[in-house]
């Protein structure tokens, strides 16, 4: 498995990131290095091994359905790059996701 510049562009687009051509080259190389390292795992025989979704052996960590006081709107909005008095403001989004 090897990553191409096209793959980097695709993933970047999904994450709404922009890179210069040089950066894309560097990222392609780095991603391939990482994947090459992970590739080593394929040497293991996992025929009878259940896929592992979680490394910690916990289950059913739940809480009761009780309302806790939310943070104040002001506190939550203060980190926003852009806002109105009550809303987060983002670049115009047209269409749907």
């Amino acid at each position: 498995m090897s990553v191409t510049v096209k793959d980097v562009e695709h993933v970047a687009k999904l994450a709404r990131l922009e890179f210069s051509e040089t950066e894309k080259e560097v990222l392609t190389h780095e991603l391939n290095e990482i994947l090459g390292y992970i590739e080593k795992l394929n040497e293991l025989d996992t025929t009878n091994v259940e896929p592992l979704s979680h490394v910690i052996e916990l289950s059913n960590v739940v809480r009761d359905d009780v309302v806790r006081q939310s943070a104040s709107a002001e506190e939550m909005l203060q980190n926003a790059p852009d806002r109105t008095e009550k809303f987060f403001r983002v670049p115009k989004v047209i269409g749907e996701r």
Binding site: R63, S70, F88, R97
Partner: protein
């Protein structure tokens, strides 16, 4: 044969239901609707770095209820996954959902077709996930975000492609709504978005087993719109095939005002969700005792209840169906039935049917006019039952019961008290009625002549006059028999 008759639509539905929990799925913010924007928000639902979501236990309880009510297998182990997409209504950049190991799989619901048969619609899966926030496009040159709804608990119910007509889609959705509201896990309001439905539509030649290319139709906010949108999309695909064009796999948005669906302007790339198990949320294990406990607390299934109404109360299918449409209505009906005196079979059936009629007409009309739900209907339990008793034992006439009903709603008083106060009791004193009959006949000699010369319609006029004179309180059976007797006596005396 018309082109379209050789084809059939294949429809699968995805329904999202907002769960009626107090707090959100993974944080303690309230799910209350209509609060000031961005006030039901905390670092968790806002996706701040370093926070840890913790699952609301009731979300699991509610989805198990739904799974059991729709004959699903409840997975002993299920996990959450991250569905990654970048959109401002989801500050984390991913939606917590379930992908590879959902909690419910392989169930079905039964719908009642118009020809009286039942059809099973298979369910592929039901899973838990979180809601997104709300974008507002028209208040600013840019887009404004209200994150209040984000992180709210949803279940997604995915059907098999078993639906074969827009009508069946409507009936399926109707049944899903009925079940979630019976279970008390969702308010079922499509207009407000508590219940949302997307449809996957394709068409194929009848008899074929493979599927045609499907499209997904979204943005239908009422039962009627779901039916209309599928109808539209099905016909659009048929026209394309007839013209030799190929259907393109795409997502369409339904525009109710234009009665048409339009392709959504978005990049295909957006559908690359890169699901993976969410490391923040540990597996959910559901054991048999948990399932048994939920099962034992399930309310009666609406379909089972309707069938019981037919067998236990000897009601026609139509009545039982209407009464069981909403759990609150069915509860109201049965509470009134339990207040009836126990009589022998035929009489009891008559009273039950009267209560049913009264609920289906007057009660439902009243709720509609006042725009309230049955839970907010203030009539004390048992009042309708005692009114029916009074009608059946002859204390009041059926005509007066309508007046009594209005009075009962107005004053909230016991029917017996009202009858006393307003003098509404039926007049069954034969002497008194005969006296009035005589007066009516005396006053309307012309009509008597008409009747005697063969115009039988005049009889109704006499009945009306007697009723008018007694303000509707005369026992109609007695009025009829006394009138008949007096008129025939008049003939004899001529």
């Amino acid at each position: 044969m018309k082109f379209s008759e050789a084809y059939e639509p294949v429809i699968g539905l995805e329904v999202h239901a907002q769960l009626l929990t107090e707090s959100k799925a993974f944080c303690g913010c309230t799910t209350k609707f209509g609060n000031e924007p961005n006030t039901n928000v905390c670092p968790i639902c806002l996706g701040m770095p370093g926070v840890l979501p913790v699952l609301n236990k009731n979300v699991v309880e509610f989805v198990i209820r739904m799974g059991l009510a729709t004959n699903c297998r409840i997975a002993p182990r299920s996990i959450f996954a991250r569905k990654n997409y970048f959109y401002p209504d989801l500050p984390k950049g991913y939606q917590i959902s379930q992908y590879e190991e959902p909690i419910c799989t392989g169930g079905y619901v039964e719908i009642d077709l118009e020809d009286g048969t039942r059809k099973k619609i298979g369910l592929t899966r039901i899973h838990m996930e979180e809601d997104a926030g709300k974008s507002i496009h028209d208040q600013d040159a840019q887009t404004l975000m209200d994150i209040n709804r984000c992180g709210g608990p949803l279940i997604e119910i995915v059907s098999e492609p078993d639906v074969r007509s827009p009508r069946e889609a409507y009936l399926y959705l109707y049944k899903i709504r009925q079940i979630v509201t019976y279970l008390g896990i969702c308010d079922g309001n499509m207009e407000e978005g508590s219940l949302r439905c997307d449809a996957n539509v394709s068409v194929r030649k009848k008899g074929e087993t493979s599927f045609g290319t499907k499209t997904e139709v979204k943005n239908m906010n009422s039962f009627r719109n779901v039916e209309r949108a599928i109808e539209f999309e099905m016909n659009r695909q048929l026209r394309m095939l007839e013209d030799g064009e190929a259907v393109v796999q795409e997502t369409l948005l339904w525009d109710a005002d234009k009665n048409a669906a339009y392709p959504m302007r978005s990049k295909e790339e957006a559908h690359d969700y890169r699901y993976f198990p969410d490391p923040d949320l540990v597996p959910v294990l559901v054991d048999e005792p948990w399932i048994e406990r939920v099962k034992s607390n399930l309310p009666e299934h609406p379909t089972t209840r309707r069938d019981r109404f037919i067998s236990e109360y000897s009601l026609p299918w139509y009545d039982a169906n209407i009464l069981c449409e909403e759990r609150g209505i069915a509860d109201f009906f049965e509470a009134e039935i339990s207040h009836l005196h126990k009589d022998d079979g035929a009489k009891q059936k008559e009273k039950i049917k009267l209560v049913a009629n009264w609920v289906m007409t007057s009660v439902l009309r009243e709720l509609g006019q006042r725009k309230i739900r049955i839970e907010d209907f203030s009539l004390p339990t048992g009042r309708l039952a005692s009114m029916i008793e009074l009608q059946v034992d002859g204390t009041i006439s059926s005509r007066i019961s309508k007046e009594l009903w209005d009075e009962m709603l107005e004053s909230n008083e016991d029917p017996k008290v009202i009858i006393e106060k307003k003098g509404l009791a039926q007049v069954s004193d034969e002497g008194a009625i005969e006296k009035i009959v005589n007066e009516v006949l005396e006053k309307n000699k012309l009509q008597v002549e008409k009747f005697l010369s063969g115009s039988e319609r005049v009889f109704g006029f006499f009945v009306g006059e007697v009723m008018k004179a007694t303000k509707g309180k005369a026992n109609p059976t007695l009025v009829n028999s006394i009138l008949k007797r007096r008129l025939s006596e008049t003939v004899l005396s001529k």
